[in-house]
């Protein structure tokens, strides 16, 4: 669905953000895009959407070159940025303004989502809180039925019950021919949703693996002590004990601790490369 080939991108001549980056994303997955601050998560999403142009290399979405921004491509891709913009109108007015641009827009699903988030269609968007406006944008995004949905920090600004609703609605909206990319720092919010992890590190994609493969190759444990633990790859102290990572025992259902995995990946990128090289 999405193919990035040998992408090079830089904001300034002195520092390149991506060097020869390649990535393939398929339908039926919910990707979690992780990376440190400034690693280029948002820029990568923008390159996919055609909002930024690479210096060299190509970004292709459903067969369309992203930077050409063909209408046919834009009808199938939705980008929800971290900071959202909504016009000075009601929810209904917003719907009238933009829903017509998406041929597969599902009005029933939109109203269903609004109901789940307890938003009224007659409400003025400008008088809503940031979280409420974000909910409206999420509802709209999911109702477009776009095959590719890109959400940048979608749970920022959402209260705890809304995060649960968000996970529920996303799970309902995703199908085998759709692909959702979630860029987030709030990994705990979306841990249960994501089925493939992408980690950006040092201008490259360090990891692009399904949770099943990660579960097979790494084992996550919580221990009272980490002394005399053969094979220990990584550990961090938490109030509940030590979260430790060991080489996996081929258990696809092993529970993954995303934060620990991310810390292992950024601190020991070579270890991650050698484990996931095949």
């Amino acid at each position: 669905m999405i193919e990035l080939n040998h992408l090079n991108f830089t904001y300034s001549k002195n520092r390149s953000l991506f060097e020869n980056l390649s990535l393939q994303l398929e339908g039926g997955h919910i990707y979690g895009l992780l990376g440190k601050n400034g690693a280029g998560k948002t820029t990568l999403l923008k390159l996919i959407a055609g909002l930024r142009f690479p210096q060299s290399g190509t970004s292709t979405v459903l067969g369309y070159e992203s930077k050409k921004r063909k209408a046919e491509m834009l009808q199938k891709i939705f980008f929800l940025p971290e900071e959202i913009w909504l016009p000075d109108t009601t929810v209904k007015g917003y719907l009238n303004m933009f829903a017509g641009s998406y041929p597969k827009f599902d009005m029933d699903f939109f109203h269903y989502c609004l109901k789940e988030f307890e938003i009224n269609t007659a409400d003025k968007l400008k008088s809503m809180s940031f979280g409420q406006r974000k909910k409206v944008s999420i509802c709209f995004a999911l109702a477009t039925q776009c095959r590719i949905m890109i959400f940048d920090e979608p749970t920022n600004g959402l209260d705890i019950p809304s995060k649960t609703q968000f996970r529920k609605l996303v799970a309902e909206a995703i199908t085998d021919d759709r692909c959702l990319i979630l860029s987030t720092h709030q990994v705990r919010d979306l841990e249960s949703l994501i089925d493939t992890i992408i980690i950006l590190e040092n201008r490259q994609v360090l990891m692009n693996e399904t949770t099943e493969v990660i579960g097979r190759k790494l084992e996550f444990k919580t221990l009272f002590s980490i002394e005399n633990q053969p094979g220990l790859l990584y550990s961090e102290f938490t109030p509940k004990g030590f979260v430790a990572i060991f080489p996996g025992k081929d258990d696809p259902d092993s529970r993954i601790d995303l934060e620990a995995l991310f810390n292992l990946a950024t601190q020991q990128p070579e270890t991650i490369r050698s484990i996931f090289k095949n």
């Binding site: 959407a49 959202i84 641009s101």
Partner: protein
């Protein structure tokens, strides 16, 4: 492939987003025009009703500048810019919709509103006061000249709206004044160096007519013919610049990154 449906959708988005603001501005101008009528018919204000059209020209230019800024105002911030660029339509469709909306609003809506208010104002004013005032409508040539002025201004501010992210009106105006000054100085230098020092040597006669105008000829051709020629060419040059600016605007929109 250009789609009329998507183009219309874009046009309607612009209309829905700007109708309140532009309606309000138009309302203010209508209010000023009505105030002018009140003054005119009460005999305290300007007695020349034809001069009302100068006000309409001013109104049209102001509205044109504002419309040019408003059609691309979403590109001034990242979240709204993402919304704009990700809305399903080609750049050609978005550009055409923005161009047509701002042009229609700048010229057609402003001028039509003016003429309607002028017609109604004079009719009602005549009926109330018993005067037989003329409508003061301009000749077609006057309207055509206003159209050319408005479209040139449109081209300049349309381009500026895409070129400058922050304060596009002020920056465009500043750049415009700067460029005009530069061109004027260049032309003055050119005239002094080539026309006076070289071509002027061929002047057959230079006299001052009874009405005070300059009566002269260069190589047997009256100076007025030269000025007419220059005037005609300036219109073509300005038309060319406008086309260039509209093309440049398209290129800027096409290359826009957020």
């Amino acid at each position: 492939m250009f789609s009329i449906a998507r183009f219309s959708e874009q046009f309607m988005i612009l209309f829905r987003q700007n109708k309140s603001r532009h309606g309000l501005i138009l309302g203010i101008f209508v209010g000023i025009q009505l105030f002018g009528f009140a003054n005119y018919f009460s005999g305290t204000g300007n007695k020349d009703i034809a001069s009302f059209y100068q006000f309409a020209t001013f109104l049209t230019i102001i509205l044109g500048v504002m419309a040019c800024q408003d059609v691309f105002n979403k590109l001034r911030s990242t979240p709204s810019g993402i919304q704009y660029l990700m809305t399903p339509a080609t750049i050609t469709e978005k550009y055409s919709a923005a161009w047509l909306y701002s042009s229609i609003f700048a010229f057609l809506v402003a001028q039509t509103t003016f003429f309607l208010v002028q017609f109604l104002g004079v009719t009602v004013g005549n009926a109330i006061t018993g005067l037989n005032s003329e409508f003061g409508f301009p000749e077609w040539k006057g309207i055509w000249d206003v159209f050319l002025t408005v479209m040139f201004t449109h081209a300049v501010f349309f381009f500026g709206s895409l070129l400058f992210r922050k304060n596009p009106i002020i920056k465009t105006l500043g750049s415009y004044i700067g460029i005009v000054l530069l061109l004027s100085l260049s032309f003055a230098w050119f005239a002094k160096t080539y026309l006076i020092n070289t071509a002027w040597n061929g002047t057959d006669q230079l006299s001052i007519n009874m009405d005070g105008s300059l009566g002269s000829s260069i190589n047997g051709v009256p100076l007025s013919r030269y000025l007419e020629f220059i005037g005609m060419n300036i219109k073509w040059i300005l038309g060319g610049i406008a086309l260039l600016l509209w093309s440049g605007s398209y290129a800027l929109l096409y290359k826009k990154q957020i």
